[in-house]
Symmetry: C2
Subunit: 116 residues, 2 copies
DNA sequence: ATTATATATGAATAGTTGTTCAAATGTCAA
DNA sequence: TTGACATTTGAACAACTATTCATATATAAT
């Protein structure tokens, strides 16, 4: 009897058939990678790092990071859209604070990975 | 006596002076954001996800992800450079496996954030 | 040696992203 | 209202990234 496939390919198929259905669905996949994309910028990490210490307004964050208020505001919008921070207007200022407990733990984990 | 600054700016300076020195150094910052950048791609997340189940070669990964072997190989190189996977040549195949325990925990944490 | 298979690589391209700049909005004080 | 301050926004530009395609390398079998 003629096996259509070479034996290397036969070996593959078994494990492929087992793992392929256990892969995450597209939507979850995008949500996951989008989350990491948001974390994958040094400006945004600095913002989260600072906000871990205290609620801060845009001007203060801009002074702490040594960056334009505009650049900071743009990045805060990204963090807000990702629901990682929340904002609250008080007078002329807009105060930002952390919105998610997971983030601090994830950053800590990443630190352990990076510092080894 | 003449205060050079308005009172809104005076309020700022105190908190800025406290937080600014506690910010992470540039190098750590880049290491951190580089790590998240690597995770911030759905193809690479799929690769890590699959490798969590078993050691796999490029052809198998390419079949599981439904992607070109070339594209998979390119992304595996990124993961290898980031030391998230390691490779081992056996015969004609190159087998990849996870190289870091932190990653699985971090992905799990990110999942919890994303699925709420 | 030649052929087939497995993987890696480089160049090219299309798409995405972060910062800057200028301008708009909103808030308070005089 | 006018002016000063705080923040947001949109457009533009440069830098980066993921995939494709063609090709190169390496291993095994004939």
């Amino acid at each position: 009897m003629d096996n259509k496939k070479t034996d290397t390919e036969a070996l593959n198929q078994e494990i492929i058939n087992r793992i392929k259905p256990s892969m995450p669905k597209k939507e979850l996949l995008y949500d996951l990678s989008d989350f990491f994309k948001v974390m994958g910028d040094s400006t945004r990490i600095q913002l989260l790092w600072a906000l871990e210490e205290s609620e801060l307004c845009v001007g203060e964050l801009s002074a702490i990071l040594d960056m334009t208020k505009s650049a900071v505001s743009h990045q805060l919008k990204v963090l807000r859209t990702a629901k990682l921070v929340r904002s609250q207007k008080r007078g002329k200022n807009v105060y930002y604070s952390l919105n998610d407990e997971h983030v601090q733990i994830i950053v800590k984990m990443a630190l352990e990975h990076v510092c080894e």
